[in-house]
């Protein structure tokens, strides 16, 4: 049973094939990188500096999304919201983002839907249909929901983001990264907002992500090379790191 009302509340998605590399850097290196990025790119409009991003990631009861992500190919289902100070609950916002992000070996694509926090349980009950856009990710997300996907881990961090017009290049630095569990038990309407915790782990270094479409300009190519020389580039995604901590597999990290 789908809800037209819910469907109407979801914005049209945008789907973009992108490249993505992730580095773990010291505070000093991160400052240098962001200074360089800041001289070529604009401060991203939708990421107010040092606001808190709270992202709740979903998985099924047999951890199918995590296992697929470990293998390098997965459709991730996550809810992201923004706050000026760090909240200890998730799904508190009237406006948050349901994001579908699909990674393949050499590319990723993402669709974003606007949703309200109190509509999340209905979505997880399968009562909301996502408009499927060009990518078909909405249909795949519905299959995950049908399989019992529900929020299992949360990340919180302060993000500083620089981006070129149209997000052709986007460079972000995430400070104060915290991985938390979330005790989600039911998709009833009164399950939100939900208190998050316990803390699974903290990241003392800075996670830098470079995302781009097409070719990198020279300065970004050089910056990418500089980072590859000085910071580990095989950093797993935040979702994978969080799940490893949650399931006691953190020694893989």
């Amino acid at each position: 049973m789908t809800s037209d009302m819910q469907t109407d509340r979801l914005a049209q998605p945008e789907s973009v094939p992108r490249h993505e590399d992730r580095f773990i850097a010291s505070e000093e290196l991160a400052r240098l990188v962001m200074r360089t990025a800041g001289s070529h790119l604009q401060l991203a409009q939708d990421d107010r500096p040092y606001q808190w991003s709270t992202t709740a990631y979903c998985d099924t009861y047999d951890w199918a999304i995590y296992r697929a992500a470990e293998a390098g190919q997965a459709l991730r289902l996550r809810f992201r919201e923004y706050h000026r100070t760090r909240p200890d609950e998730a799904f508190t916002s009237a406006r948050l983002w349901l994001e579908l992000k699909e990674d393949t070996i050499d590319m990723s694509r993402k669709e974003r839907f606007e949703i309200s926090g109190d509509a999340v349980p209905a979505f997880l009950r399968g009562e909301t249909t996502l408009s499927d856009g060009r990518s078909g990710l909405g249909k795949k997300a519905a299959e995950l929901v049908q399989a019992g996907a529900r929020p299992v881990v949360v990340t919180q961090y302060n993000r500083l983001a620089y981006a070129a017009p149209g997000d052709r290049i986007r460079i972000t630095a995430d400070h104060n990264l915290i991985y938390l569990a979330v005790p989600w038990t039911t998709n009833a309407d009164d399950s939100v907002p939900i208190r998050i915790g316990p803390i699974l782990a903290r990241e003392t270094d800075v996670v830098i992500e470079m995302k781009w479409v097409g070719e990198l300009p020279n300065w970004a190519e050089e910056l990418h090379g500089y980072l590859r020389e000085r910071a580990p580039a095989d950093r797993p995604s935040k979702f994978v790191v969080a799940m490893r901590h949650l399931l006691g597999e953190a020694k893989k990290s």
């Binding site: 009861y61 760090r86 104060n176 569990a181 005790p183 038990t185 316990p198 006691g248």
Partner: protein
């Protein structure tokens, strides 16, 4: 200054001895008690131990950075209300915004003028409006005679006097700070910080709305109705205590049954303690913690209806015996169902052997049908069972037991967040042992 706040206490977390010394002298000269931590770890330990009125926190520390310390203070419900001021030589706007977004009340760039520091300290202290509840001794054991007792801990003197006048005919007013008196009722301002000091044995707490504000689900208005509302609240609390007393009697019976077997003596108390620790780590309220505690203590009461030899058997069970043993949750539920005030415990008693993937017993429930309280007791029960030596295996270490539970999470049997809360508690305990604290 409020009568309850005798001296402002400040924890300074600063690795540079000279800077720490200057700060300490300056604050002490202004009537504050000051404790200094040289590292982030030392500072956190002091903050948790002293629960100060204010923390002054350097950003650059030898073992971590001040942002991390601030986040840990603000993410712990026991310390989250303590205001933090950053003191740092880093003066970039991003450093300041980052510090403030970690939950700090202010950010002061070094070098600073002492007068500015004191002004900001005063401003933060006054804005924090932290009114501490009086530190109550446990209720006296002596039998109650006469009127119920009340402490009126409102910050504003005229409102305090008015409340005492309204409550006087029905309650005995006890002065703040009186030692050794049992207190039935505590009247505080709506923003007072008393929750962390009040256990289930504590008094009824009524929060009074600010002057001119309407009542809310959490507050009452200071008017002539206060005496009637207070009287009802105290009676309701007393009724709750009576139910608890009845539960205690049942628990005593269950414990007596358990204590006949040396291998399991004390097991239920350890399960209950572990379950409450998990509930706290998950931020559950004190009433839910109490439900979990009593449910954990009574979860196996159905064993009293099974043959003694079967319950105490340590060998491998036959299929028939296993079927019998697996009846104990349902038998326990039947036993307690007659006692209606304990209805909230029944899901724990009946379902603490259920698995999220439906492979448990007695009903084969699946995840959405298993409440969080039940999941918590199930994890605590499994963990404590692994820590006990059995005929077929030795007692497991804490780490090994956690790993076994994490494997159960991977198979889809146990709740991941609950096991994560347990693991965090075990890790914290190990760290405490390692540092000798």
């Amino acid at each position: 200054m409020n009568a309850m706040q005798s001296e402002t206490s400040v924890v300074v977390v600063e690795d540079d001895p000279a800077s720490a010394d200057v700060l300490q002298r300056r604050l002490q000269a202004n009537g504050m008690s000051v404790s200094v931590g040289r590292t982030g770890g030392d500072g956190l330990a002091l903050i948790r131990e002293l629960h100060p009125d204010l923390v002054l926190l350097d950003v650059g520390l030898p073992d971590t950075d001040g942002y991390d310390v601030c986040l840990q203070v603000k993410s712990d419900s026991a310390t989250a209300d303590i205001p933090v001021i950053f003191l740092s030589a880093r003066g970039d706007v991003f450093d300041k915004v980052r510090g403030l977004s970690c939950g700090a009340s202010d950010y002061l760039t070094k070098p600073f003028h002492p007068a500015e520091l004191l002004a900001r300290v005063d401003a933060v202290l006054s804005q924090s409006r932290r009114v501490r509840g009086p530190r109550l001794s446990k209720p006296a054991e002596a039998a109650r005679v006469g009127r119920p007792t009340v402490i009126v801990a409102l910050a504003d003197a005229s409102r305090r006097e008015r409340a005492e006048l309204i409550l006087g005919p029905k309650f005995e007013i006890i002065p703040i700070g009186a030692e050794g008196r049992a207190v039935d009722l505590l009247i505080v301002d709506s923003d007072a910080n008393v929750a962390s000091q009040m256990g289930s044995e504590g008094p009824t707490v009524l929060r009074v709305a600010p002057a001119g504000a309407p009542a809310s689900p959490d507050t009452v208005v200071l008017n002539d109705e206060l005496a009637r509302i207070a009287d009802l609240a105290v009676r309701e609390h007393q009724l709750g205590r009576d139910v608890d007393a009845a539960a205690d009697a049942l628990i005593a019976l269950a414990m007596a049954f358990e204590s006949h077997d040396r291998s399991t003596a004390g097991h239920s108390e350890r399960v209950a303690g572990r379950a409450v620790a998990i509930a706290k780590a998950l931020g559950l309220d004190s009433q839910t913690q109490q439900t979990i505690r009593v449910g954990a203590l009574l979860r196996d009461i159905g064993n009293t209806k099974l043959p003694l030899g079967l319950v105490r058997s340590r060998g491998e069970l036959t299929p028939v015996e296993r079927t019998q043993i697996e009846q104990h949750p349902a038998l326990g539920q039947e036993l307690l169902a007659a006692f209606r005030p304990l209805a909230r415990l029944l899901p724990i008693v009946r379902s603490h052997h259920e698995h999220l993937d439906g492979s448990g017993y007695p009903d084969g429930l699946k995840a959405p049908q298993i409440p969080l309280e039940v999941r918590i007791v199930a994890v605590a029960d499994r963990y404590e069972a692994l820590r006990i030596a059995r005929a077929d295996r030795p007692a497991m270490s804490a780490d090994a037991a956690v790993q076994i539970l994490q494997q159960s999470v991977q198979r889809g049997e146990l709740d991941a967040a609950v096991v994560a809360a347990l693991a965090a508690g075990v890790r914290a305990h190990d760290r405490g042992e390692a540092t000798g604290s």
